[in-house]
C-alpha cells in the first residue's frame, strides 16, 4: 500500500495514497505503522483525501489499528469523500472514530488538553 506517515504535534498523520483501499492492497499497512506505534504514539489521524473507495477489509484494517492503540488512544478520520463517508457510517465506525472535514480539524480534535502529555517521545517529520 502506498501511504505517507508523519508526526505532527504528537499525532501520527497517515495519508493513504491509493485511490482504492481493499483486500488487494492492504499488505504493508500494519508494518508501516509499527515503528510509530512502538514509540507510544496514541493519537492517529487518517487522511483519506486520496481514497475514492474503501472496502470492508480496508475498514477492518482501520479497526485493527484502533485496537492496537493504548487504552486512551484516539483515531480521527479526515477528508473522507462522500462515498467513503457513507461506508464509514454504514458500519457505524463514525461512532468509534472521530470524523473531521479537514486535517486541521482532526489535529485540533486530537490535541490533548492544555498541559497534558501523552508521554510520547518527541516527534518529527517522517
Amino acid at each position: 500500500m502506498n501511504l505517507e506517515c508523519r508526526v505532527v504535534s504528537d499525532v501520527l498523520v497517515v495519508t493513504l495514497l491509493d485511490g482504492r483501499v481493499d483486500s488487494g492492497n492492504l499488505a504493508g499497512f500494519r508494518d508501516a505503522l509499527d515503528p510509530y506505534l512502538a514509540r507510544g504514539l496514541a493519537r492517529v489521524a487518517i487522511d483519506l483525501s486520496q481514497v475514492e473507495f474503501i472496502d470492508s477489509s480496508g475498514l477492518g484494517a482501520l479497526i485493527a489499528l484502533f485496537k492496537r492503540l493504548p487504552e486512551h488512544g484516539t483515531l480521527a478520520i479526515c477528508n473522507a469523500q462522500d462515498r467513503v463517508l457513507k461506508l464509514l457510517k454504514l458500519t457505524r465506525l463514525n461512532k468509534v472514530f472521530t470524523l473531521c472535514a479537514t486535517l486541521e480539524q482532526a489535529l485540533a480534535q486530537l490535541a490533548p488538553p492544555a498541559g497534558a502529555s501523552n508521554g510520547a517521545p518527541p516527534a518529527g517529520q517522517s
Partner: protein, 847 residues
C-alpha cells in the same frame, strides 16, 4: 387538458379530435421538425442511409425522437416539483409489466396520428414498426401490470410519483408449445439496448451485502453494533420516462442494474488473476439478471432475497438523497415522502430506512420509527398462504445481518407493547410476531410491512374484508385504523384508447374525448345502449376486433376460427385457483353433448385460452397440455365444424393482450370465491365490451354492482359458503361425481384416453386429482352452476342486439375501474399528495 387520440390504424379514418387543441409536445416538435429529428436519428444514431428504412430502424429512430421530447418534459416536471416543494410518492415494486412503450408514448404526447402518417410516407406499415418493439416483460402478471398502470395514472394526473424496481436483463420467459406442452425460452429483452432507458451512471449506489455484526462500543462506551466484512455491489440506475396523457407531466421509472464494485476489480486484475476478476463481476451482475417466476420464490432462493434487498437499498438511498437536496433534517420526511410497498417484496425497505436514520443520520430509535411508520404504506395482493413471503432467519443473518438485527428490535418493542395492551391473550404475541418460530425460524415479511406502515390496503373490497377477518385479523384488532381498501383499476389510455382504437373512436364520436382522463364519463353512453344504430355500430367494431384476433390466432396457433362465433376468452396466468380446468370441463361437456348426443349449441363458440404457467408448477403446466389435447381432438372432429373450436394462443404478454382483449365477447373470470385478490383482466375485458361470466370473487363483485345483474353472468358458491364447507369438512367431490351424470361423463371421458389417443393415461390425473385430491378449488361444487350460467350466456348471445346492449352497458358502467380513480384514492387517503399545474407565469400550484 388538451389531448389528441389516435385514429384507427386499420381503417385509417381521420381522428375527429385532429383539429382539437394541439398538445405542447406537438407544437414543440411538430410536422417537419419531427420528421427531421427522425431522419437525424436514422442517420446519426443508427447509421442508416436508406430512404426506405427497416421497421426495426424506424422504430428505434422514432423512440429516440420521443425520448428527447420526454427528457425535456422530465426536466421541466422536476423543476416544477422542486419549485413547489411538493411531496413525492415512491412506488416500490419488484415488477413493472410495461409492455411496449412507443405507441403509448405517442398517444400521450399527442403525436400518434402525425407519426403514423410519417411512417406511411416511408412506405412502411405502422403496425410493423410498432411490432419491432420488444415487450418489456418485467413482471409476471397482475401485480406488475398494476404497477405499470399506476405509473401512467400518476403522470396523467400530474402527481409526483415515481417507480423503483429492477432492470432485469431477462424478463418473464417466452412461452412456446411443443406437442401441447409449455416450453420456456429466455426473454433477453435487453439484448439490444432499450431506447427508453437513460443511464444515470452519476447516481450509482454502493450496496453492502453479507458480513457480520461486531458487538462493539462507541466512543462513549455505549453498545455499537458494527456491520463488518460486507461485500459491495453497485446499483446502476436507468430511468424510463413515464409520459402522462397530454404530455404535461413526465415522471420516471428508475430501474437498477447490478454491477460489480468496479468494472473489474483492478487489484485482482493487476495480480494476474483475470479469471477470478471476471467471475466476481459475473456473480455480482447475476442479481439483476432474471425475473423470478412466482413459483420459485418460496424455495428460499438466496438470489431472490438479494434482489429484494438490492433494489430497496438503492431506492431508499436515492429517495433520501433527493430529500436531502432540500432538507437539512429528517423531521419533515413523512411530509415530503410517501413510499408504497407493492406487496411484501420490498418490505426490507422498512428495516433499511430505520438503519439509514439510526446508523447514518444519528436519529434516536423512537424518532426514526415514527418517521418510518408515517412514510410507508403497504399493499397486500394475496390471501393464499403459500404466497405470503417468509424468509429463513439464517439466510437473512448471512445476507443482511444489520437489517435482521433491526427487524428483531422492531419485533421486541412491538411484542412488548402487545403484551402490555392484551395481557389476557398470550397467544396473540406468537401469532403477530415478525418471527415465525419452529424448526426453522422465519421472518414474516407481511408482518414487517404491516407493523412498519401507517396503512395497509387490499385491492378489492372483498379482498380487503377477508384480510381484516382472516389472515390479518389479529392486526386488525390491534390497528383497525390502518386497514383500508383500494380497488384496483386499469389505465384507459393503454387498455381502451390504444388497444381498441375503433371502439375509442365510436365512443369519442358519441360523447367526446373526456372519458380518456375521466372514465366515469362513459356513463353518457348508457342511453345509447337502447339505440339500434349505436348497437349496430358497436357490433361492427366488435366484429372488426374479432377479425383481427382471428388473424392473430391463425398466425400463432395455426387454427382457423370464425369471427362470427362467440369468442369466449380466458386469458391470464395459469393457476389452479383461477380454474382454467373448470372452463375446460365445460368445453368437454359441450363437446360430448354435441358429438355423442347430437345436441348442437345455440350459437357457435370459439373457446380461447392464453396464459403462462410458472415453470416449476406441474399442475398448471398439465392444464396447458390438457387444454391443447382437448383442442386438438375437438378441432379435428368434423362434427364440430362451424360449431365449436378450442384454441390456446401461446406467449401471452401485454402486447398480445392488447390484441386479444378487444376481441372478446365473453370474459371468463371464474376463480374460486375468496381466492383472487382483485383481478384486473376482468376490468380490461369489461371496458372493451365483453360480458363477464364470473364468480363472486375479487373485483367481480364490484363489477356486478356497477353493471347490474342482467349484464353479467354470475355463478357459483360464495366465499362464506365455501368457508363453511372447509370448516366442517363436508365437501366430498366424489359425491358430485356419483350424483351428477354430467360430471361423471366428462371426467370419465378425460380418463379414457379419448383426448389422448396416442398418449395412454395422460389425462387420467384430472379425475384422480379432483376425486382423490380433495378438489381444493371446488371445481365440482361449482360445475352445475357454471354450466347453467354458460347456457344463459349462450341464449343471450343468440340475440345480437340484446348482447350488444349488455356489452355497451358494461363499457358505460365500468368507469370506476380506471386506475386514475384508484391512484387518486391512494393520493388522498394514503399518500397525502396532490397534483401540480403550471400557471401562466410558469409557477406551479396545486391542481
Amino acid at each position: 387538458m388538451s389531448a389528441r387520440r389516435p385514429s384507427d390504424p386499420q381503417s385509417g379514418a381521420p381522428s375527429s379530435a385532429q383539429s382539437s387543441a394541439q398538445s405542447g409536445a406537438q407544437s414543440s416538435a411538430g410536422g417537419s421538425e419531427l420528421e427531421r429529428a427522425v431522419r437525424r436519428h436514422l442517420r446519426y444514431s443508427l447509421g442508416q442511409d436508406s430512404q426506405v428504412p427497416q421497421p426495426e430502424h424506424l422504430y428505434r429512430a422514432l423512440a429516440l425522437t420521443v425520448r428527447e421530447l420526454a427528457i425535456e418534459r422530465l426536466l421541466q416536471t422536476e423543476r416544477r416539483l422542486t419549485a413547489a416543494g411538493a411531496k413525492q410518492v415512491y412506488y416500490l415494486s419488484l415488477e413493472f409489466l410495461i409492455g411496449r412503450s412507443l405507441a403509448n408514448n405517442l398517444i400521450n404526447l399527442g403525436l400518434y396520428d402525425e407519426v403514423r402518417a410519417l411512417v406511411a410516407s416511408c412506405g412502411l406499415a405502422f403496425d410493423d414498426v410498432l411490432e419491432a418493439e420488444h415487450d418489456a416483460a418485467l413482471g409476471n402478471g397482475g401485480l406488475g401490470r398494476l404497477a405499470a398502470c399506476f405509473l401512467d395514472s400518476l403522470a396523467t394526473l400530474g402527481l409526483p410519483g415515481f417507480g423503483y424496481g429492477i432492470n432485469y436483463d431477462y424478463g418473464l420467459f417466452k412461452q412456446e408449445l411443443d406437442n401441447g406442452y409449455q416450453r420456456e425460452r429466455p426473454d433477453h429483452w435487453l439484448r439490444q439496448w432499450s431506447p427508453w432507458q437513460i443511464e444515470r451512471s452519476d447516481e450509482l449506489c454502493l450496496v453492502p451485502v453479507y458480513g457480520r455484526i461486531d458487538h462493539g462500543r462507541d466512543r462513549d462506551g455505549r453498545y455499537n453494533p458494527m456491520w463488518l466484512d460486507w461485500q459491495v455491489l453497485v446499483g446502476l440506475p436507468f430511468d424510463m420516462p413515464v409520459i402522462g396523457y397530454g404530455g404535461h407531466t413526465v415522471n420516471y421509472l428508475r430501474l437498477y442494474s447490478a454491477r460489480a464494485s468496479d468494472e473489474f476489480d483492478m487489484q485482482i486484475f493487476s495480480q494476474g488473476d483475470y479469471l477470478r476478476a471476471v467471475e466476481e463481476k459475473i456473480r455480482s451482475e447475476t442479481i439483476s439478471k432474471v425475473l423470478y417466476p412466482p413459483d420459485t420464490v418460496q424455495a428460499g432462493k438466496e438470489l431472490r432475497l438479494l434482489q429484494e434487498y438490492f433494489f430497496v437499498f438503492c431506492a431508499l438511498h436515492d429517495i433520501v438523497r433527493r430529500f436531502q437536496r432540500h432538507h437539512a433534517s429528517f423531521e419533515r420526511f413523512p411530509e415530503q415522502v410517501a413510499i408504497q410497498l407493492n406487496d411484501t417484496h420490498p418490505a426490507l425497505a422498512i428495516a433499511e430506512l430505520m438503519r439509514l436514520l439510526i446508523d447514518e443520520h444519528d436519529l434516536e430509535w423512537d424518532a426514526a420509527w415514527k418517521i418510518t411508520q408515517r412514510t410507508f404504506g403497504y399493499t397486500n395482493h394475496t390471501l393464499l398462504p403459500e404466497a405470503l413471503e417468509q424468509w429463513p432467519v439464517t439466510l437473512l443473518e448471512r445476507l443482511v445481518p444489520r437489517h435482521l438485527q433491526i427487524a428483531y428490535e422492531i419485533n421486541r418493542r412491538f411484542l412488548a407493547r402487545v403484551a402490555e395492551l392484551w395481557p389476557e391473550d398470550p397467544g396473540l404475541q406468537r401469532r403477530v410476531s415478525l418471527v415465525h418460530e419452529g424448526d426453522e425460524k422465519r421472518l414474516r415479511m407481511a408482518h414487517l410491512a404491516l407493523v412498519g406502515s401507517h396503512s395497509v390496503n387490499g385491492v378489492a373490497r372483498l379482498h380487503s374484508e377477508l384480510l381484516r377477518t382472516t389472515v390479518l385479523a389479529d392486526f386488525h384488532r390491534i390497528w383497525p385504523e390502518r386497514f383500508n381498501n383500494k380497488t384496483n383499476g386499469v389505465t384507459p389510455r393503454r387498455w381502451l384508447l390504444l388497444a381498441n382504437p375503433q371502439l375509442a373512436t365510436l365512443i369519442t364520436d358519441a360523447i367526446g374525448d373526456g372519458w380518456i382522463t375521466d372514465l366515469d364519463a362513459l356513463r353518457q353512453l348508457e342511453p345509447l345502449a337502447a339505440q339500434s344504430a349505436f348497437r349496430q355500430a358497436f357490433l361492427a367494431v366488435k366484429q372488426h376486433n374479432k377479425q383481427r384476433l382471428a388473424a392473430t390466432i391463425a398466425e400463432t396457433a395455426w387454427v382457423k376460427v370464425d369471427p362470427r362465433s362467440m369468442f369466449d376468452i380466458q386469458a391470464k396466468r395459469i393457476h389452479e385457483y383461477k380454474r382454467q380446468l373448470l372452463n375446460l370441463l365445460h368445453i368437454v361437456y359441450r363437446y360430448l353433448r354435441l358429438v355423442d348426443d347430437g345436441d348442437a349449441p345455440t350459437v357457435p363458440r370459439t373457446h380461447i385460452f392464453a396464459g403462462k404457467a410458472a415453470p416449476g408448477y406441474w399442475a398448471a403446466k398439465q392444464v396447458i397440455k390438457c387444454i391443447n389435447n382437448v383442442a386438438r381432438q375437438v378441432n379435428k372432429d368434423p362434427r364440430t365444424r362451424g360449431l365449436l373450436r378450442v384454441v390456446f394462443v401461446p406467449d401471452y404478454r401485454v402486447s398480445l393482450a392488447e390484441r386479444i382483449i378487444p376481441g372478446a365477447d365473453l370474459s371468463e373470470q371464474i376463480s374460486t370465491a375468496g381466492t383472487e385478490a382483485s383481478g384486473t383482466g376482468n376490468m380490461k375485458f369489461g371496458i372493451n365490451g365483453a360480458l363477464t361470466i364470473g364468480t363472486l370473487d375479487g373485483a367481480n363483485i364490484e363489477m356486478l354492482e356497477e353493471v347490474g345483474r342482467d349484464n353479467i353472468f354470475i355463478f357459483g358458491q360464495t366465499t362464506a359458503e365455501l368457508a363453511a364447507l372447509r370448516r366442517d369438512h363436508s365437501y366430498q367431490p366424489r359425491r358430485y361425481y356419483e350424483r351428477d351424470d354430467r360430471i361423471r361423463r366428462v371426467l370419465d371421458a378425460l380418463a379414457s384416453d379419448r383426448f389422448s389417443p396416442d398418449e395412454p393415461g395422460l389425462l387420467r390425473w384430472v379425475r384422480d386429482a379432483l376425486l382423490d385430491g380433495g378438489d381444493p378449488y371446488f371445481l365440482l361444487a361449482d360445475f352445475a352452476a357454471y354450466v347453467e350460467a354458460q347456457e344463459r350466456a349462450e341464449r343471450h348471445f343468440a340475440t345480437p342486439e340484446r348482447w350488444a346492449e349488455g356489452a355497451i352497458l358494461n363499457v358505460a358502467r365500468l368507469g370506476k375501474f380506471s386506475s386514475d380513480r384508484t391512484v387518486l384514492e391512494y393520493a388522498r387517503e394514503i399518500w397525502g399528495v396532490e397534483a401540480l399545474e403550471q400557471t401562466e407565469d410558469g409557477s406551479p400550484q396545486p391542481r
